[in-house]
């Protein structure tokens, strides 16, 4: 493998990992507050569809990103209303959100299939991007890749050294106790779910405006689900999400690697790799059940209603 190919593979790995980072960070915050939202896939698809539509209609990719974030948040409000206010089963509600989001995005985007837009151009960071190798791999990306690093840093810092991080964790570990010391449990959970929705929407925008600047039905191809596995794999730690997402990114672009090495393989068979990798990861996580239990937010998935 020559050096340039190696550079390109690392570059593509970072690109492919970015939507997973965004979704998984959002879901991590949500799960830290004790809410399991299985609707990621639906929110990502809505973000992708509405982001693309807004970009086409307004001719402005930046507005597309804002529309995508709003779309993700609107979907997450639906989830929050059912799962937090109406204390419905979180698993079923999340599934419903995915089914609904898949249907709604397919419906709204039907007229935009096959349309091409310019998408969001890469923004090489001046000077830094001129460094050989590192400049290409790290500093020649589009703005959303840099944004994913900023979001990572913010979330890492939030849970490491802020009161907000502690509050969210308190709500996810023991909502009764949090309520007793005056933390507004419902509000914190709403906030965490909304944040997750915004991140999923942003990831959708990344897919339809940057990664492959187009819209097609179901284009997220299970990334929302892979991100869910990633959060568990990362034991709810932001730095491990970053690492895990790039590992998955690498698995998803194996076809590039193999082509570089001169192998021919069916693209459909190679497309199975990230899903197979997820299953392996799930097995590894489960084999260390005791450790997984330690890091799982205690109240995860359990509905909570303050007693009147």
């Amino acid at each position: 493998m020559d050096f340039e190919l190696f550079t390109n593979i690392l570059f593509a790995t970072l690109r492919t990992g970015t939507p997973l980072i965004l979704i998984a960070l959002g879901e991590m915050v949500c799960e830290k507050s004790g809410v399991l939202n299985l609707g990621q896939e639906g929110m990502v698809l809505m973000g992708a569809a509405l982001g693309f539509i807004a970009a086409v209609v307004t001719g402005h990719a930046g507005l597309g990103i804002i529309a995508a974030i709003l779309a993700g948040m609107m979907m997450s409000v639906l989830f929050a209303f059912l799962a937090v206010t109406l204390v419905s089963n979180q698993v079923a509600t999340g599934l419903a959100l995915t089914i609904f989001g898949t249907g709604l995005s397919g419906f709204l985007g039907a007229g935009y299939v096959g349309m091409a837009i310019d998408g969001i151009a890469p923004f090489p960071i001046p000077l830094l991007s001129d460094i050989p190798f590192i400049g290409k791999v790290l500093f020649s990306h589009d703005p959303l890749v840099y944004l994913s690093w900023v979001m990572f840093a913010l979330i890492f810092w939030c849970f490491r050294s802020t009161r907000l991080g502690l509050t969210i964790r308190a709500v996810g570990e023991n909502p009764e106790a949090a309520n007793a010391i005056g933390i507004p449990v419902m509000k914190v959970r709403y906030g965490a779910i909304l944040f997750g929705g915004a991140m999923a929407g942003l990831a959708g925008a990344y897919l339809s405006l940057v990664y492959t600047p187009m819209w097609s039905e179901g284009m997220s191809a299970g990334r929302g689900w892979i991100a869910l596995a990633l959060v568990v794999f990362a034991s709810w730690k932001a730095e491990r999400i970053l690492l895990g997402a790039y590992l998955f990114g690498a698995a998803s672009i194996m076809h590039l690697v193999l082509q570089g090495l001169g192998f021919e393989a069916s693209p459909n068979l190679l497309a199975m790799l990230p899903y197979g990798a997820t299953i392996i990861v799930l097995v590894i996580i489960a084999s260390d059940a005791a450790k997984a239990k330690l890091s799982t937010p205690l109240a995860l998935g359990k509905p909570y209603r303050p007693q009147v």
Binding site: A96, M186, A271, L282
Partner: protein, 367 residues
């Protein structure tokens, strides 16, 4: 701020669990009407086109049956899993594997003649689905992997396997390079009930499966064990039920039934392998189970409604020039409203006590 609040019922309301699906359907229809109005359609005409016009003749009803069969087969299998609180989302993958496995045998037996061909093809289809279910069971019981995520990953793997097949080794050599297999021979095709319609005998497979599973759940110890496991894991363990064996059973049964649905679809109304053998039946079947209240009879009716959403989507595309994906939208709305209405099973809506009478209790549910 709303002047109402939720109050937990002393015990769950049986009546509400039956009324909730009806409320959900009504709310879906109202939302659909509003949606059609927003799209510039006459809402009544559009709803008529979507939900009634597909069923105005015999042909429509037979087409409904064509879609009810796979939905019911998948849903009745999922019901077993959900009863045991095994969150198998993998009917879609098991369906696809059933179609792929059965279709592969059908293509291998292209030149074979005889009435043994079809049963063999169906058997291998069901077996393929069963093995796909077994993989989930293995991952869950042996490794403790979360079945929601493994089954979804297996769905994507199954789909890519099918795509590999129809783009590669199973592609029809005389097919002008379309990603499709050759048409199966007559000996590997399910007989239709009447030459005028596409409805084939798979509807009987579905009804038979419903009867068997119903008997299993209501008359046998195995069915009782499955219910207990789902309702109270600790009690099931205390009673000495073999949890792992029950998980294996429900996943194998569901895999076989969804696989049978898949192979019936490819040897029935499709007649070959192509990339679109499932319009999401495995996912729609999840809605069927919830809507059908996890009861075999309810599942039959819910299958009919979900089958109608597929036909309605096609009618809306033809007559109203609206996208076919309306189907998914209506299915999603239905499930959402159902979950919201299900709240009324264990809660009732009451007027909020006035501020004076509650006195100091400040942390009431206001969100």
């Amino acid at each position: 701020m709303l002047n109402i609040t939720l109050e937990k019922r002393p015990s769950d309301s049986k009546l509400m669990s039956y009324l909730s699906p009806i409320f959900a359907v009504i709310l879906t229809l109202i939302s659909g009407g509003l949606l059609f109005t927003a799209l510039g359609q006459d809402p009544f005409h559009a709803l008529y086109t979507f939900f009634i016009s597909p069923l105005t003749d015999i042909y429509g009803w037979t087409e409904l049956g064509v879609k009810v069969a796979p939905l019911t087969l998948c849903a009745i299998g999922l019901m077993l899993c959900f009863k045991a609180r095994v969150w198998n989302i993998g009917a879609e993958g098991q369906f696809i594997l059933g179609g792929l496995g059965g279709g592969y045998i059908a293509l291998e037996l292209m030149d074979a003649e005889g009435f043994w061909v079809l049963p063999l093809v169906l058997f291998f289809g069901a077996l393929s689905g069963l093995l796909w279910g077994a993989l989930t069971a293995l991952l869950k019981t042996r490794f403790g992997a979360n079945e929601i995520l493994t089954t979804i990953m297996l769905n994507y793997i199954a789909l890519n396997w099918l795509l590999y097949g129809v783009h590669g080794p199973l592609k029809d050599p005389d097919g002008f390079n379309f990603p499709e297999s050759a048409l199966f021979s007559d000996f590997a095709t399910l007989p239709v009930l009447s030459d005028d319609y596409r409805l084939n005998i798979s509807i009987f497979f579905a009804l038979f499966a419903v009867a068997v599973i119903w008997a299993l759940m209501s008359k046998t110890l195995l069915g009782f064990q499955i219910s207990v496991l789902g309702e109270d894991k600790a009690a099931a363990r205390f009673a000495g039920f073999k949890e792992e064996r029950l998980i294996w059973f429900v996943l194998l049964a569901c895999g076989a039934l969804a696989g049978l649905a898949g192979v019936s679809e490819v040897t029935g109304s499709i007649g070959q392998l192509n990339p679109y053998i499932s319009p999401g039946y495995g996912y729609a079947a999840i809605i069927v189970v919830f809507l059908g209240r996890m009861h075999p009879i309810g599942i039959v009716f819910a299958s009919m409604l979900l089958a109608l959403t597929y036909m309605g989507g096609e009618m809306a595309q033809m007559d109203l020039a609206l996208p076919k994906s309306l189907t998914g939208l209506f299915q999603g709305m239905l499930l959402f409203y159902l979950l919201a209405c299900d709240l009324l099973i264990s809660y009732r809506i009451v007027r909020k006590p006035t501020a004076r009478s509650t006195g100091s209790s400040s942390n009431s549910a206001q969100a």
